[in-house]
Amino acid sequence: MPEPLPARRLSNSIRTLRFLAGEMTQGDLGARVGVTRQTIAAIEAGKYSPTLEVAFRIAEVFGKPLDEVFGWEAA
């Protein structure tokens, strides 16, 4: 039987990237990505894992590759 993968969780550096982007607000980021401010807040807090499409859009807004915005860490 194959070995199960270790438990991991999605992390992100959106808060830092917003700061580096001149204190971009959650609302501004949400508007550019096409989601609400509350959804950006939930993603930042690790309470919601976005779809790949939204994750790529967020990375595109900051001009970063996806793996610099989102991480896959041990839980």
Partner: protein, 141 residues
């Protein structure tokens, strides 16, 4: 608080208050076996009040541009809503199996009707609680 979360809170509180009042009236009146029209009036009052609340909280905000923007769901809202509807569906199915499959052979008409109303109320409340928990605690598909 998110617009949809606020609307769901109002809906859940309305469900609890109105159906508690309705079922209290039903239980209190049942021994006297009230006439058909009186039972219909009570049911219509409960459903009518819920209809007005739904109209005021969900339809009226759509008349303004700001209200339309706030009510516009994104992917997280849709997933939360779908999960709530799926949970509500199972509660409703359980209630309807009882109401449609068992009770018609053993219970009087109005008991069947009111049990169906209870199943609908519980299903709606389950969906609303699921949505609120997803907004509060986080949501993972």
């Amino acid at each position: 608080m998110h617009h949809r979360e606020r609307i769901t809170w109002i809906w859940l509180c309305s469900l609890v208050v109105i159906f508690t009042a309705y079922f209290t009236v039903v239980v209190l009146k049942e021994p006297a076996d009230p006439p058909f029209l009186e039972r219909i009036r009570d049911l219509a009052a409960a459903l009518g009040t819920l209809g007005v609340i739904a109209l005021v909280t969900q339809a009226l905000p759509l008349l303004t541009r700001a209200g339309r923007e706030a009510a516009q769901p994104d992917e997280r809202d849709r997933l939360i809503s779908q999960q709530g509807a799926a949970r509500a569906y199972w509660v409703l199915i359980g209630g309807m199996i009882l109401v449609g499959g068992v009770m018609p052979f053993t219970e009087p008409t109005w008991k069947v009707v009111n049990t169906a109303m209870l199943a609908i109320a519980l299903a709606e409340a389950t969906g609303a609680v699921s949505v609120l928990l997803s907004y509060r605690r986080g949501f993972r598909a």
